[in-house]
Symmetry: C3
Subunit: 333 residues, 3 copies
């Protein structure tokens, strides 16, 4: 859809410098935007691209406004303002209620008439699907699953028995929520499986990435707070609790029963051991290993940046050489 | 279901202190258990919670029996005893044989009448499905797959051609067993795919986690021993061999042709290079990288615990500073 | 199928020593090959196995020819030659065009008559499926997906709207290509989702592993070059660009907007931060963390080999002890 810059300035509370009657019909990147498009510029390092942009308007912070060769829309949080404008210019199609062929819905399930149930979806006994939900093809919602309004599942999502999600949750393809956690009690002759009797409870506005897995609790529930965003291939162990508005990047693994605070940012591929407590507003940089509880707020790290392999081999040897007892230890043999 | 403490003591060989006529109808956590529930206490660090538990009975080690305010059931392995009792009080529903709508079974497949085949399941030529197996919705079992008795597949599992599993194996959603491994031979102009002619053979009582992948062998098979437990998002490369009763936590990656012994414990997110041999009863702590063969028994590590980011940056610089040749090496440039 | 050694020598341009009339009907491992099979030997470390092989013929480098007790086929790249011969002796069955039961194809999709569409596959509006493609059971191809000729999707693959792939691409089960990337703009009260308006473009001969995920671009596309091989459980963030013939091993995570050159080799479980540039012919060894751009060609590392746990704990303490300001830092508390 198209909007004038005047409409955008009013609707999103931005300060416009330029012709309010100019219209934009979409967004584009700063360097490649054509006339008729809106773009954004978040910092001085993009100043050279800003100087030559052909976009019709740029959302930017106040300090860059003077450098903008076209219409500018000033915001203290230009990226968030851009995101909202982009959502408006490129709206997600509204959900049209109905059921595709091949759907199997248990008679005791309650599915809102405004929800769309895609091809081959299976919905179990007693499930409750809220208004305007969209369930992608080949997804499976087992017995007792409850989805709030406006949830969207891409194709091939699995929600195991009794998983509860609030409103506006998003599940990408291959996400598995509610499978039994990894609980085995060692016994004389192997392991005994520990029954997983708890559930998974997701708040509102939770996003679950593609092929991400969230295990159900053993006793008690695994709980994911409002506004939590989980990237792809994240693993959340049984009985974890993740606080509101925490963001977890791809490939992170969280062992069972750990508690993560609110508004944390966990970088990619971080590993978090079990039974820890991480405070509010903790940042863990990518590829770190968390083995102790971490108070918040704070920023924590343990990743080693890659360097030339021959230098790296020397660095590894050096650490072990420091201790005479450590000689020859690098091989592990 | 409900059982009396007397029945439990006899059936599981536990020493009861308390009224054998008291009944429990389920399990609960030590701190939150209501009367009528059974719980467990594995160590002295939970002594404060034990002192105020409202559970009807607690499974615990002998040294905690005197501190128990309610009925106690003493076991040398209280967690395993608890797990067995919990399985009994909360039984997994028995499988009812039959086929849901939308199932497609090849005419040459042999499916036990006692097996349940869920909605939209596809079973290929020559597959053999044992007694009382349960195949979750939208799963795909390709030609020649063979499942022993009492296997359970959650929704959306894929077993590629010819995968063989023993009795009582469990596959969680999104597990993919038997896809071609990562084998490419470098050639003058790119890579040539190496055909994967081997299979995957799983023993009895193997558990395969959600979105875990196990590749088939190139020549010869990938083999997973009896009682092996693989958590979610584990990757097992082609031609690996994993010994009986080894437990592998989430997000572990094992490169091709490595051999892991029996009764090992591999921590979360461990990386294991290819063509290695890990002995029996080896423990690798989480987030370690295994680049050499490791004799067993033994415990091995290489994970760095996260600390405050500014301290960590100093530590990284320090290692590189130790060697005058290493100056400036941290940038990798 | 069976071929004579003479036919093989001519077809693959190899130098035969031995009876050209001998026939082989398959491949096998050097140590276990029976007569009638062809095998390969790539280096001197397998010389003992070579000396006693019972295979009918061995593909090997010139320097091993004299040590071969049976017919030899000399190649400068014996593993690639072996792979091509194995492909010929064990051909992948040709695709037979048609549609299985339960298929749902949108009326505006164009599916080549020579393509096979497996059970329960869903194909959206405007999708284009090339000649001889094979789409495995329960796969979902959303609107606008375009596949070149001879692509093969295993069971349970998801290609989101508008994903484009060239000829001869291969997708293993659970692969998800084209889901929205992880883009959220922080705002006063949580996060705003950034619309993902770009797509994913894969070249020819791309291989996508099981449960691998490739996100679509925010603005502009995520691009994967010709001949790129992605192993299982790889995560490729939005707007990444991967150059031709680069090989990426399992469990690698690549953050958004990073650019990887051509003919790179990225080891297992490597983490690559966002907005980096990695040159051509860069090797990153397994379990490294890339936090800076890396010029190519070159080899880079940052993985610590696991050693005995008690030695490792001492090494960790040692690094922190080196700096008096670091005392007590290891606990992160």
């Amino acid at each position: 859809m198209a909007m004038t810059l005047g409409e955008i300035a009013v609707r999103f509370g931005l300060e416009l410098t330029g012709d309010p009657g100019l219209a934009v019909d979409g967004v584009a990147a700063l360097a490649s935007a054509a006339p008729g498009k809106l773009t954004f510029c978040t910092g001085a390092k993009y100043r050279a691209e800003l100087a030559v942009t052909r976009a019709t308007a740029v959302v930017l912070p106040r300090e860059l406004a003077a450098a903008c060769p076209v219409a500018s829309l000033v915001s203290p949080r230009p990226y968030a303002a851009y995101a909202r404008i982009a959502q408006t210019l490129h709206p997600v199609p509204a959900v049209t209620g109905g059921r595709a062929p091949g759907v199997q819905v248990a008679p005791t399930a309650q599915v809102a008439a405004s929800a769309w149930i895609g091809p081959n979806v299976v919905i179990g006994d007693g499930a409750v699907i809220g208004e305007r939900c969209s369930i992608g093809p080949n997804s499976v919602l087992e017995e007792g699953v409850r989805l709030g309004d406006d949830c969207r599942l891409q194709a091939g999502v699995v929600l195991n028995r009794g998983v509860v999600a609030g409103a506006r949750c998003s599940f990408k393809s291959g996400a598995v929520v509610g499978s039994d956690g990894f609980g085995f009690a060692p016994d004389a002759d192997g392991y005994v499986k520990v029954p997983h009797l708890g559930g998974v409870i997701l708040g509102d506005d939770v996003e679950v990435g593609a092929n991400t897995t969230i295990d159900r609790g053993t006793i008690g529930d695994t709980v994911v707070g409002d506004g939590v965003k989980l990237d792809n291939q994240v693993q959340v162990g049984h009985n974890c609790r993740i606080g509101a508005h925490t963001v977890i990047a791809g490939c992170v693994g969280i062992s069972g029963s750990s508690i993560i605070g609110s508004r944390c940012m966990i970088g990619g591929a971080v590993g978090i051991a079990g039974h820890l407590e991480i405070g509010d507003e903790v940042v863990v940089t990518g590829y770190s290993l968390v083995t102790h509880s971490l108070p918040g707020p704070g920023m924590y790290s343990s990743g080693w940046p890659a360097i030339e392999a021959r230098k790296w081999r020397r660095a590894v040897a050096r650490l072990h050489r420091l201790d005479p007892r450590g000689r020859g230890g690098a091989g592990g043999g």
